[in-house]
Amino acid sequence: MNLTLRIWRQAGPDAPGSMTTYQVSGISPDMSFLEMLDTLNEELITRGDQPVAFDHDCREGICGACGMVINGQAHGPERTTTCQLHMRHFRDGDTIDVEPWRAAAFPVVKDLVVDRSAFDRIIGSGGYITAPTGSAPEAHATPVPKEAADTAFEHAECIGCGACVAACPNGSAMLFTSAKVVHLNVLPQGAPERAARVRNMVSAMDAEGFGGCTNTGECATACPKGIPLPSIAAMNREFLRAARG
C-alpha cells in the first residue's frame, strides 16, 4: 500500500505545531498502525530527519499508551487501540490525518505524545483500596455477588488510554473517572471508602481542568474497551449520594 500521511509535528511543549505531509510506500495490510509509523520513522531516520514521536509500550492493547487521533477518531476507525488497528482498514492511496489527543489537561509533549499524568493524579486521589498488603487473600474470604463481579470486571477493563477525553468535545474525563469509581465502589472491598472515593476523584478530575459531561456519548463510542455510557450515570449516582451524606 502507498499512503499519504498528514501528521502533527511539534518540537516541544511550547513550540508551535503543524500538520506535515509524508508519503509512505510498501505498507502491508497486515501491519499495525504503529508498524506503519515505524516504517515511516525508519525512512525519516535514514534521511537524517527527526522521527515522529509517539507513545507505545505493550503493542497488544492492554497498556493504553498508544493513543492518537486518526482521521478525527480516537484510535482510528475500528473499536480498538492504535497498536491493534491494522492497515487493512485503510485503502491503497488513502490520505490519513494523525493528530495527538487534544485537551487542556493533556498538554502535547512532542508530536503525537501527550502528558496524561492528570489521569495518574485522579487515580492517586482515590482509585485504590486502602488495605494492608501481603500475600493474596483467600478468594472466598469475601463473597462478591455475581452481578457486582461482572460490573467490576467490565469497568476494570479501562486501560486509561485517554480516548474518552480525546473524543469528548468538552475534553471531559467523566468516562475514565466513572470506570474507576464504579469498578471499586460496586465491590465489598471498595465499600468502606465509597463516599470519600467518589468525592475526591471528582474533585481531582475538576481540578485538572477537564470539562464537564454534556452526555454527547462520544467517549463511550471511542472507548477501545467498551466502557458503557451509563457508567457515568452510575458515578453521578454515587456522587450525589456522597454529597448528601
Binding site: 500538520m19 487521533v69 482521521n71 493528530e99 471528582v202 456519548g217 451509563p230 450515570a233 456522587f239
Partner: protein, 234 residues
C-alpha cells in the same frame, strides 16, 4: 483530661454540589425538570382554547384562585412564578459556567473534523439561548400584554387570537417550539443520566420517553398558533 473528638469538616451539601461539575449539572437537571413539569401543565391548559373563549378565559380566572381561601388571590400564581424564575436563572447560570469550562477544556480543535453527536445534543447551548429569549418575548406578549395587539387583561382567548394574527409572532412561536422539542429530546434523557437514574436496562426507555415528551410538547404548543393561522380558532 478531656479528649476532643473532631470529625473532619465537609463543606455543606449545596456548596459541594455547586463547586463540582457533576453537582452543577445536577442543578441544571433538577431545574430543567421543574420547568418541564410546568410546561406539560401549561401545554394542556393551552388546549382549552379549542373549547372556546369562555372555557379558556374561565380557566385563566380559576388559576388565580388556586389555594383560596388558604392563600390569597393570585398567591399560588406568584409562588409558581418565583419557582420558575429561580429555575430559569439557576439553569442559565449553570449552563453558562459549565459551557465556559467545557470550551476551555478543549482549546485546540482537531484539524480533521468529524460530525459529532445528534442535532439535539449539538444545539443545547444555542437552543437554550433561543428559549431564554423566547421566554422574555412570551411574557411581554401574553402576560404583561406589552407587545400584544389586543392587550385586554382577563381576555386570554382574544389576546391569543390577536397575537397569532401577526406573521412574525407565528414565526417566533414556531421557531421557539421547535427549539424546545430538541432541547427536551436531549435534555430529558440527559437529566436522567445526570441524576444517576439511567442504567443499561433503562437507557432505551428513557430515550423513547424523551422523544415522546418532546413531540407531545412541541405538537401541543404548536397546535394553538396553527389553529389561529388556519382559522380553526378565530
Amino acid at each position: 483530661m478531656t479528649t476532643a473528638t473532631r470529625t473532619a469538616r465537609h463543606p455543606s451539601t449545596l456548596a459541594t454540589l455547586w463547586r463540582s461539575t457533576v453537582g452543577k449539572k445536577a442543578v441544571m437537571a433538577v431545574t430543567g425538570l421543574v420547568m418541564l413539569l410546568y410546561l406539560v401543565a401549561h401545554m394542556l391548559g393551552n388546549l382549552k382554547v379549542f373549547f372556546g373563549p369562555d372555557d379558556i378565559n374561565g380557566y385563566a380566572a380559576w388559576l388565580r384562585t388556586i389555594g383560596q381561601p388558604f392563600l390569597g388571590h393570585e398567591w399560588f400564581l406568584w409562588i409558581a412564578r418565583l419557582a420558575l424564575l429561580a429555575s430559569v436563572v439557576l439553569h442559565g447560570v449553570s449552563a453558562y459556567q459549565l459551557s465556559r469550562r467545557d470550551l476551555a477544556a478543549r482549546p485546540s480543535k482537531y484539524v480533521h473534523q468529524r460530525r459529532r453527536a445528534s442535532y439535539a445534543t449539538r444545539t443545547m447551548r444555542w437552543g437554550g439561548v433561543i428559549l431564554g429569549l423566547f421566554v422574555v418575548w412570551h411574557i411581554l406578549d401574553l402576560t404583561t400584554l406589552t407587545v400584544n395587539p389586543v392587550a385586554e387583561h382577563g381576555h386570554v382567548y382574544q389576546n391569543i387570537v390577536g397575537t397569532f394574527g401577526r406573521w412574525y409572532s407565528d414565526v417566533i412561536y414556531i421557531v421557539a417550539m421547535l427549539a424546545l422539542g430538541f432541547h427536551i429530546r436531549h435534555g430529558f434523557w440527559s437529566a436522567a443520566q445526570t441524576l444517576g437514574a439511567n442504567n443499561a436496562r433503562r437507557d432505551r426507555a428513557l430515550k423513547l420517553t424523551a422523544n415522546g415528551l418532546a413531540l407531545l410538547l412541541t405538537a401541543g404548543f404548536l397546535s394553538v398558533p396553527v389553529a389561529v393561522m388556519t382559522g380553526v380558532v378565530k
